[in-house]
Symmetry: C2
Subunit: 144 residues, 2 copies
């Protein structure tokens, strides 16, 4: 949890600054996605499905870094709204392949633009070079 301004302790911790900045970007994105009645996790799921059409629910759970039971209501919601579909696998009838619908593809295209705009607005204190540096440093951390 973030604190605001105790000087000399929390302010020197990357973890603290990371949490405050992440909260700011997340809140901005949540606000923008709410116009489409979607949460960030659902946007991420759509993006993962687009890049890995036909993947199984277990794969999606791993990609989203969540547990398999959490995939169920998330995917139910996307299916209710006809943005994605579960298709029974031929060879292994226990599993499903997950695909985007045409509507899902179309909406995702919009969502990508929304996410990009949100990113830029919430980081408006930085210039493009600083954004590039930041993205590089963060990627090094989470890929390590």
């Amino acid at each position: 949890m973030p604190a605001a301004a105790a000087d000399g302790v929390l302010e020197d911790l990357i973890g603290y600054a990371l949490r405050r900045a992440q909260l700011k970007l997340f809140q901005n994105l949540i606000g923008r996605l709410s116009a489409h009645d979607l949460r960030p996790a659902q946007f991420s799921a759509l993006a993962v499905i687009e890049q890995n059409p036909g993947l199984m629910q277990a794969d999606l759970a791993r990609s989203l870094a969540i547990e398999p039971p959490q995939v169920v209501p998330l995917l139910n919601k996307l299916e209710e709204r006809a943005l994605a579909v579960r298709v029974r696998c031929k060879p292994d009838k226990r599993s499903y392949g997950i695909f985007l619908s045409k509507a899902g593809e179309a909406l995702l295209k919009e969502l990508k633009q929304i996410a990009h705009d949100s990113d830029r607005e919430a980081t408006s204190a930085l210039d493009d070079e600083e954004r590039g540096q930041l993205l590089r440093l963060l990627t090094k951390i989470y890929q390590a």
Copy 2:
């Protein structure tokens, strides 16, 4: 929510990288603090109280960016463990001043070292100059 590796969509978003990196640092800190049966929010609270001795609960809530009702169980826990105390204010008997106990001060000193070590371990992919850059960029974002 983070996804792992859809290429070309999520990977270019600072918000996505921020969330993945933040999760990594948070998990590391949670693991280390668990030896003292504390959560990150309780560590932050102790640090804020040290820097603002005698502050009121409403101030603490604002500093921690949480709602006043959430302060109650947090502070109860710290008081149960004799790390902090609520002292009735003389002039306004509705409010309390919050202070660290001697034990709280001593523990906080340990916790600062733990948080610092956690920060460095979870960002071991970076050198010191990169850590400085990152802290500067993140601070610019959340202070804007």
